[in-house]
């Protein structure tokens, strides 16, 4: 019996001690009409070797592609030590540190995480993580609306990831919150104070400022933050943690700094993993600390004065406040934060800055290379971090399929979410991309675009035969 250690003798002794004849007798309080169901769609069990073979086959079917996709999840080098340490059983198989004395490892690590992420964002306080970047943005919206008391509208730029905007909609839908879209400028791909002046400010609790934004473009954090604060709005910074090793942190934006900073933590040592698990982070000004959802770790002392760490401000949470809690959130993403903390410690400020700079350098090279391909044009002309938008002379989907046949994951087709941009594709290069890989991408793109013009129906097939 997999993972059940009982011998026949054990079972007999245990049933004897309980005073029943069979294990089935232990279910005698279940109404008879409900008992005796059968699992018809669960296959028979396999041993580890068989399951291993099955999973290897499934993985081999998927293959590995040279990745130029970003859009909120980024491929970075992850030092070997990160997951060697993270999957230690003492981290991997522990739970939420309810018994602080028996969980000082996890608790201290979370305190160190809070310190590091607060340092990166330039904010005063941080929680111990949330589910992912998108749901963190939704939680930030809920937090600022709670703090504002009477204001229930949010200014949400169209330069925020379309998926994030959908997630926010799902999560805040029942709280009577209105999300107002802020348009972006045609040539800059960013929002400006001018685009904001068209928006209402009455009853608005906060402005969301993505940095970099979904197009990879840098927003003017200073001007946008000051604009919002001058009108009594709070500012939610939606930031990429890798970029923050280089870029001005939200805590320093404008005269007063952003009020809350959230983002996707995946770039900090978490593999792409087909979509998860990742983790979200939330940092804030001290005065908003009680509006933060999720676990928060604080430093304190024991009876002998020895420093230690414990979960704190639990009166915000569902297990104490039930229907009046700040959120229904129970767990954080502890194991992902373990990886991120070790990642940040290994890289340090210098290493992380070099990663960020290399990402930017590679993205600039890629955008120049691809932008030079005949018929391709750069869509926006503003400073960017590690991705950018290109307009192709033909439908993006077919081009991406042809690239895929060459082992290249070429980018994100923007034509559904941003039809106004035409046949636009979002491409990304991080520290893991080599010059040779970028050159190959440019060569294939050139070939695919030019052949297709000559002989459209066969372009894909020819590409596949090479």
């Amino acid at each position: 019996m997999p993972f059940i250690p009982h011998t026949k003798q054990d079972v007999e002794a245990m049933l004897g001690a309980i005073g029943v004849d069979s294990i089935d007798d232990l279910f005698d309080e279940v109404p008879r009409s409900l008992r005796g169901c059968e699992l018809t769609n669960v296959p028979a069990g396999m041993n580890e070797m068989q399951v291993g073979r099955l999973m290897q086959e499934r993985a081999a079917q998927d293959g590995i592609y040279t990745n130029f996709i970003g859009g909120g999840a980024y491929e970075h080098h992850i030092p070997a030590a990160v997951w060697e340490l993270t999957t230690r059983g003492e981290f991997y198989s522990a739970y939420t540190p309810y018994q602080a004395e028996a969980s000082q490892g996890t608790l201290q690590l979370l305190y160190e995480f809070q310190s590091m992420i607060a340092a990166l964002t330039g904010m005063e306080v941080a929680n111990a993580s949330l589910y992912d970047g998108a749901s963190s943005l939704a939680e930030a919206v809920l937090a600022v609306v709670r703090a504002a008391k009477k204001s229930n509208r949010i200014l949400m730029p169209r330069t925020v990831s379309p998926i994030y905007r959908k997630v926010v909609q799902t999560i805040v839908k029942h709280q009577n919150i209105e999300i107002i879209e802020v348009p972006f400028t045609d040539s800059g791909g960013r929002i400006t104070v001018d685009s904001l002046t068209q928006c209402p400010v009455d009853g608005v609790a906060a402005l969301v400022v993505p940095q970099p934004n979904y197009f990879g473009v840098l927003e003017d954090g200073d001007a946008l933050t000051d604009w919002a604060h001058e009108r009594g709005l709070r500012v939610i910074g939606l930031v990429n943690p890798t970029a923050l090793a280089l870029l001005k942190p939200p805590g320093d934006w404008g005269a007063q700094g952003a009020d809350i900073a959230v983002g996707e933590g995946q770039p900090l040592g978490v593999p792409l993993s087909s979509g998860g698990p990742y983790f979200g982070f939330m940092c804030a000004k001290q005065k908003l600390v009680r509006q933060m959802p999720g676990r928060i770790v604080g430093k304190t002392v024991d009876a002998r004065g020895i420093p230690g760490f414990t979960l704190t401000l639990q009166a915000r949470e569902q297990h104490i406040r039930r229907s009046k809690a700040t959120s229904n959130i129970c767990t954080n993403q502890g194991l992902m934060v373990t990886a991120a903390t070790i990642y940040m410690a290994l890289l340090g400020p210098t290493g992380l800055r070099r990663v960020a700079a290399q990402c930017h350098h590679n993205a600039r090279r890629l955008l120049n290379l691809l932008g030079d391909v005949s018929g391709v044009e750069r869509v926006f002309d503003r400073p960017f971090f590690h991705e950018g938008v290109l307009r192709l002379p033909q439908a993006v989907a077919g081009v991406l399929r042809a690239l895929e046949a060459q082992g290249i994951a070429g980018g994100i087709d923007l034509s559904h979410d941003y039809p106004e941009l035409g046949d636009a594709v979002l491409v990304c290069a991080t520290d893991t991309r080599t010059d040779a890989e970028m050159d190959v991408y440019a060569e294939h793109l050139d070939r695919i675009l030019s052949r297709r013009r000559l002989d459209p129906p066969c372009a894909q097939k020819l590409a596949g035969n090479e």
């Binding site: 309080e29 699992l39 399951v51 981290f91 749901s135 997630v167 290994l346």
Partner: protein
């Protein structure tokens, strides 16, 4: 010592980052930070040693019996981790084409099918990132169902013994929460429920077996009562491991369910996440499932999104749920198979009843002595407190000294001085006997040397922590001296 205390300026790990600073002069200085972030500057060995030592300050399933009730701390098979971390799965970008992830999607599709079978539901979505998010999805679907029928309902009913996420979730979905009392035998008070249900009732959230560690014997009556009033029945799958393969929630009359894969399907708890909280629904809630869902079309696997399912409650996360956790659950299900899953419920129940009986034989008071324990049970230490002034928390802390993680304490709230104890099926009889011996010893100590127990733990890296100070003098981040 914190990692920051080991930091020395200009110490770098050259093998972990690009060797040089690439040129970023095209980014205007107004966008750049003027001070580097205060991250530690430590060597790779310092880092490895520091976090190895920290890990050793944790109790975990791999090192200790961890009978935390309602949390299901059972063995996390190593194979699940190893085969979920194959490079093709890890390196795949979530937004890459489905054609590049057919193997991955097939695993997820089959997991959906397995979960449908286990729960007796018509459809499953894997996207919720944790149990609490699954609850949110479930209640949001109840709301979408009533809204689509133009049926304005305002209330969600939850038992007073419910997990705190239930009422918190109902509030997030815009409902008022009404608590139903529990009767003396631990079942939902049917008479009270009868007087509570009405045209305002959107639904009832229930865990079965309940958080009191007993099976709701009148579940069929409860379902009838709620359905007759036009409400829907929500199954909190926190305790699915107690009945998996034995009873299907769909057969009990539930319309919607969330599952905590880190419980029943043994994915790791990771020091508090990541979890995974898939939801299952019957036919009437099928159109509202959160997206994306894996669909199958002549052997090809595709994502079904808001375009194919326009009535969906929407997206809950940036991608498709905690994929790596889902893969671990899938691998676990394939290792166990249908017979293995059935044995999870059987042996979890056997271990709980054995442990309950043995503790009871030693004079530990059971909260519901006339009831059969499910996969977990409650003891109350009120008598011990009256006799010795030692409280449940003291006993919990003293258990740490004896090498056992404490059970869940003071939950559910309606039983005084309680422990909620869940041994799980992966523990041996020998280990359970050791736990009984430890409790018996502590009861003796409580009488002979109560101070010893009240000042416990004595062997952990720190003693009992000043939580009041932690909350009053908030220190949430390290600051340079």
């Amino acid at each position: 010592m914190l990692i920051f205390d080991q930091s020395v300026p200009d110490r770098v790990n050259p093998s972990q980052a690009p060797a040089v600073d690439a040129d970023v002069s095209d980014i205007p200085t107004a966008h750049l930070r003027d001070q580097p972030p205060q991250l530690p500057e430590v060597s790779e060995l310092q880092t490895v040693r520091h976090y190895t030592r920290l890990s050793q300050k944790n109790f975990s399933i791999d090192t200790h019996l961890y009978p935390l009730g309602s949390c299901t701390m059972k063995y996390n098979p190593r194979a699940c981790n190893k085969y979920a971390m194959l490079p093709q799965f890890l390196m795949r970008h979530p937004l890459s084409a489905v054609s590049t992830g057919q193997g991955f999607l097939k695993c997820l599709y089959e997991l959906q099918e397995i979960l449908k079978d286990v729960t007796g539901m018509a459809g499953v979505s894997l996207t919720p990132l944790a149990g609490a998010q699954g609850e949110f999805a479930g209640v949001a679907m109840i709301r979408a169902y009533h809204d689509a029928r133009n049926d304005q309902r305002t209330e969600i009913l939850v038992p007073d013994a419910a997990h705190g996420t239930n009422p918190a979730t109902a509030t997030m979905c815009g409902y008022q929460v009404r608590e139903i009392p529990t009767d003396a035998s631990g079942d939902v008070d049917l008479e009270a429920l009868r007087s509570f249900v009405g045209p305002q009732t959107a639904g009832l959230m229930l865990t079965n077996p309940s958080t009191l560690g007993v099976f709701e014997r009148t579940i069929e009556d409860i379902a009838h009562l709620v359905h007759s009033a036009g409400g829907l029945l929500y199954f909190d799958g926190a305790n699915l491991n107690a009945i998996v393969g034995k009873v299907k929630p769909g057969d009990m009359g539930f319309d919607v369910i969330h599952m905590n894969l880190h419980k029943t399907f043994s994915t790791p708890h990771g020091g508090g996440g990541p979890g995974a909280g898939p939801v299952g629904v019957n036919d009437r809630l099928l159109p509202y499932l959160p997206v994306p869902i894996v669909g199958e079309n002549n052997g090809d696997y595709v994502w079904l999104t808001e375009y194919e399912l326009p009535q969906s409650i929407g997206r809950l996360s940036a991608h498709m749920g905690n994929a790596g956790v889902l893969l671990r659950a899938y691998i676990y299900a394939r290792l166990l198979g249908r017979d293995g899953l059935l044995r999870v419920a059987e042996y979890a129940t056997l271990n709980a009843n054995y442990l309950a009986k043995r503790l009871h034989d030693h004079g530990v008071e059971l909260a519901y002595p006339d009831r059969r324990a499910a996969h977990e049970f409650i003891v109350t230490l009120k008598k011990l407190k009256d006799e010795t002034t030692v409280i449940a928390m003291d006993v919990a802390k003293r258990l740490l000294d004896k090498g056992y993680h404490a059970p869940t304490v003071y939950f559910p709230l309606l039983v005084p001085e309680c422990f909620l104890i869940e041994p799980t099926e992966t523990e041996t009889k020998h280990e359970l006997d050791g736990f009984v011996d430890a409790v018996v010893e502590i009861f003796k100590e409580a009488h002979s040397d109560p101070e010893l127990v009240k000042t416990a733990p004595h062997t952990t890296p720190v003693g009992r922590l000043d939580e009041v100070k932690a909350a009053r003098e908030l220190d949430l981040t390290w600051k340079p001296v």
